[in-house]
């Protein structure tokens, strides 16, 4: 717990800023976007009927449902969640090398496994706090501006935010352990998340399910959640498997490899 305690002290401002920003943004965006579909006939025809909404898993019909626009917005906030998760995880696991503190921390009696656990716990707590802020702000905004929605559907849609954050976090942990002298974690995280978004959009446009397995954004399809009141099972199991592999491999790498020291 000592490592977690100090990691938390070092990261809490970063976590709170992210959580607060996400909460403020979703709270202010919900009324703006819902006001746009009060008169759907005024939406540009090409925009409404083109494939854009399908790339984020929403149809025009679903968009007019109480949680349709939230699902659309949530898909984009999931990008922010992914960047937060991956950047935070990468920072946690690369800063000992890039800030030249690895030789201090890794020669203390806590050992590598406790350091790993402390950092992963910090990532989990950070994910929980930012997600709680986001979901709470979403819920309040929805109650205020668009009441009468299905609670289960809302939980599943909003729940995709922490799940996307966590899987990108896991990816960040793996990358951080594998290549700890990464000095551009934000750039890496942004590129990885953007690539994930592009893969999902591409796979949905061409209708390729195999390609969609490559991106976590594909795993949480708003239209499927609306129709079946749960996530797609194959994607869900694939998600759990990927997350397990990310944490298992990263732990193994950290335990086996030489500790990379700053050059």
């Amino acid at each position: 717990m000592t490592v977690f305690h100090y990691e938390w002290k070092r990261s809490r401002k970063y976590i709170l800023i992210w959580g607060l920003s996400l909460a403020v943004c979703i709270f202010s965006m919900i009324p703006v976007y819902y006001s746009m579909i009060e008169t759907p006939e005024l939406l540009p025809k090409n925009f409404a009927e083109g494939g854009f909404f399908e790339t984020v898993g929403i149809s025009l019909a679903l968009l007019l449902e109480p949680l349709g626009m939230y699902g659309f917005l949530n898909a984009f906030f999931a990008l922010a969640g992914g960047i937060f998760g991956m950047h935070f995880a990468l920072s946690l696991f690369t800063k000992e090398c890039t800030e030249n503190t690895a030789e201090y921390l890794f020669t203390k009696p806590c050992g590598r496994i406790q350091i790993y656990k402390g950092k992963v716990l910090c990532l989990l707590v950070g994910t929980c706090i930012t997600s709680a802020a986001y979901i709470l702000a979403s819920f309040i905004a929805m109650i205020v501006y668009e009441s009468g929605f299905s609670m289960l559907e809302f939980i599943l849609l909003a729940g995709s935010f922490p799940l996307v954050t966590l899987i990108f976090g896991g990816m960040g942990v793996l990358l951080g352990c594998w290549h700890p002298n990464n000095r551009s974690p934000l750039l890496t995280a942004s590129l990885a998340v953007f690539m994930g978004y592009c893969i999902t959009a591409f796979s949905r446009t061409i209708g390729s399910r195999i390609i969609s397995y490559l991106s976590p954004f594909s795993f949480f399809h708003p239209a499927h959640i609306h129709e079946n009141s749960f996530y797609e099972w194959d994607y869900f199991l694939w998600y759990v498997l990927l997350l397990t592999v990310f944490f298992f491999l990263s732990r193994k790498i950290l335990m086996k490899k030489d500790i990379k020291l700053a050059v």
Binding site: E103, Y104, T107, P109, G111, L261
Partner: protein, 293 residues
């Protein structure tokens, strides 16, 4: 016979094509101050990092307190105070917070010890690490290594950046720790520093063990670098005696390395019309180049 605190058996670490250390075998006995000397790039830090479990050996093994350094690094670290050669502390923490973090990681309460060591080394606990000079950062490292009162101290180039007064205080602290039974592995490339403190030294060059000598043996092999100038040129054969190496003569100026009975060379020098003379300790590089090649 006492069980060795540190034992290296054929320890080898290579970084692909790059040389690390090769086949190091030696041991450090309990209560000993063991010097670890060699020029920059000799492999001292690689050896120490392998002992501390940061690097995995390519072959061979190393044990501390009878435990394998790779398998039981965390267990070993409970009784080891480590001072790395480079400053590796959190710049955004205050000195006090950094030292408290060390105490927490060791699971010890040593507030008084921190205060005592900081006072002796004249270290301001309230400043941020990032604002400290190189020497003061080194002091943070020294206090951090000493505060859990470990059974073994591993110090990698501990005095680089310290002013001479603080160095003296540091040597005093080390002697006190040693008198309490602490074993010390002291790495340095400054021969005189090692000579002041150590019981035995291990000399390393290009990743290989050159020799392990007691201080008595090292003093008997007291290499001196002598530079002199004379009123008139000295005959070429004048210094043709055992123990002279690397003789360089430039008109009235001569320099050479001497290893042998001091009276022999003094008698020779006495016969010369000397204008100036400088007798100094040769650098390790000079010793290695001229005596070990």
């Amino acid at each position: 016979m006492k069980q060795a605190v540190i034992m290296l058996d054929g320890l080898t670490k290579s970084y692909g094509k790059h040389r690390g250390i090769e086949n190091l075998t030696y041991s450090v006995l309990p209560g000993e101050i063991f010097g670890f000397i060699g020029p920059n790039g000799a492999g001292k830090t690689t050896t120490i990092r392998t002992l501390m479990g940061l690097l995995k050996p390519t072959s061979g093994n190393a044990t501390i307190f009878g435990l394998d350094c790779t398998q039981h690094a965390a267990e070993i670290a409970k009784n080891v105070g480590y001072l790395p050669s480079e400053n590796c502390y959190y710049n955004n923490l205050k000195v006090k917070e950094q030292l408290q973090y060390t105490a927490d990681l060791y699971g010890v309460n040593c507030h008084d010890r921190i205060e005592e060591l900081a006072e002796r080394l004249n270290l301001d606990l309230s400043r941020k690490i990032g604002d400290l000079s190189l020497g003061n950062k080194k002091k943070v490292g020294i206090v951090s290594a000493l505060l859990p009162s470990p059974k073994l101290l591993i110090l990698d180039e501990p005095t680089s950046g310290l002013d001479p007064l603080v160095q003296q205080t540091f040597y005093e602290i080390l002697r006190e720790e040693n008198s309490r039974g602490t074993t010390i592995l002291f790495s340095s490339h400054v021969l005189s520093e090692v000579q002041k403190l150590c019981d035995r030294v291990c000399i390393l060059r290009e990743g290989r063990l050159i020799a392990i000598q007691s201080m008595k043996e090292l003093r008997e092999n007291g290499y001196k670098k002598i530079s002199l100038s004379t009123e008139e040129p000295v005959p070429a054969q004048f210094f043709d005696i055992p123990g002279i190496a690397n003789l360089e003569q430039n008109q009235n100026s001569i320099s050479f390395m001497f290893n042998g009975n001091v009276m022999t060379i003094m008698e020779k020098l006495h016969k010369l019309p000397l204008v100036d003379i400088l007798i100094e300790e040769p650098s390790l590089e000079e010793i290695f180049l001229h005596y070990y090649e």
